[in-house]
């Protein structure tokens, strides 16, 4: 009788910490993947809109520009102003051309803070236009309240 009672308990005792660890690892990696997908910046709080929906396919050749509340522009981890942004954009354009694509194929995704002056966003668009870029996307947060 003793032998019968001990055997299943031992087997279960071995499995549970392993399952725990597996779930923890899965949770860890899933959270990491979500961080990469949002492409977020701490200094940017996007405005809301009821009309937008998440795109079914991600935009091709994206250049993501974060525009902070003070008008500073973040591109690929570097901090630019509207005067120096052209340098950063030219690097991105070179990378796109290196892949054998045209400048017009690139999509500039503008993630601007909700309290940024609209003129600063316009200036960012103007600089990008002068660099030859044509397609812009103003990124906003989906508002599901209404």
């Amino acid at each position: 009788m003793k032998v019968k009672r001990q055997k299943p308990d031992l087997a279960e005792g071995d499995l549970t910490p392993m399952i725990d660890m597996t779930f923890q690892l899965i949770a860890f990696f899933m959270v990491l993947i979500n961080f990469a997908q949002t492409e977020s910046n701490d200094q940017v709080v996007l405005p809301n809109s009821r009309l937008v929906k998440p795109p079914e396919q991600p935009l091709e050749f994206p250049i993501i520009l974060h525009v902070g509340q003070s008008g500073s522009v973040f591109l690929g981890g570097d901090d630019y102003t509207t005067d120096t942004l052209k340098v950063g954009l030219n690097q991105e354009i070179r990378a796109i051309k290196f892949e054998g694509k045209q400048v017009e194929d690139a999509n500039v995704i503008i993630r601007a803070h909700r309290n940024t002056a609209a003129g600063d966003v316009q200036e960012v668009i103007r600089v990008a236009q002068e660099a030859g870029l044509e397609n812009f996307a103003l990124r906003v947060k989906e508002d599901r309240s209404g």
Binding site: T16, D20, R114, A137, V140
Partner: protein, 160 residues
């Protein structure tokens, strides 16, 4: 002795429950975290080639002009559509757009030929107000469906 062995059995069963609860809590924490972190985002697409601003290719189809004025704090003071003042009511703007382009939603074929709107905003206006105006002119929600109005949006030259 018999009573003790029964108590031991009960303890062992409780031990099994705790490991299951551990996993359930881990799952719960996981879903709570993903729910908070992932915010659904979408785009308003704008196509603005630099050459398009200088010489308008089609003079018969001039864009609708939306002027946004800001007060000193950057809040929206007034809007005017084709020189008609609308105040700060975005619903009034949407109604005006509906009156201009008609209530019929543009078909798939006519999307490229649809009306165009040019947004001329004060420099210090908060970006959120511009997005609200873009939301008002680009469509409205009818239940779960989005009815699109103006899809071609461009900005005028920035005002300094």
């Amino acid at each position: 002795m018999k009573i003790r062995s029964k108590e031991q059995d009960e303890e062992k069963q409780q031990l099994n429950m705790t490991s299951m609860i551990d996993i359930v809590f881990l799952l719960l924490v996981f879903f709570v975290m993903t729910f908070k972190i992932v915010e659904l985002e979408g785009d308003f697409s704008i196509r603005m080639p630099l050459s398009g601003g200088a010489g308008s290719p089609d003079l018969t189809d001039l864009p609708i002009k939306l002027r946004l004025k800001a007060d000193n704090d950057g809040n929206l003071e007034s809007m005017s559509l084709n020189e008609v003042t609308l105040g700060t009511d975005y619903d009034a703007l949407r109604g005006r757009i509906l009156g201009l382009i008609g209530t019929t939603a543009p078909s798939e074929d006519s999307l490229a030929e649809g009306p165009e709107i040019e947004i001329d905003t004060d420099y210090n206006l908060r970006y959120e107000a511009v997005i609200n105006a873009i939301t008002a002119v680009s469509g409205y929600k009818d239940g779960d469906q989005v009815v699109k109005l103006v899809e071609k949006i461009k900005f005028a030259k920035p005002r300094r």
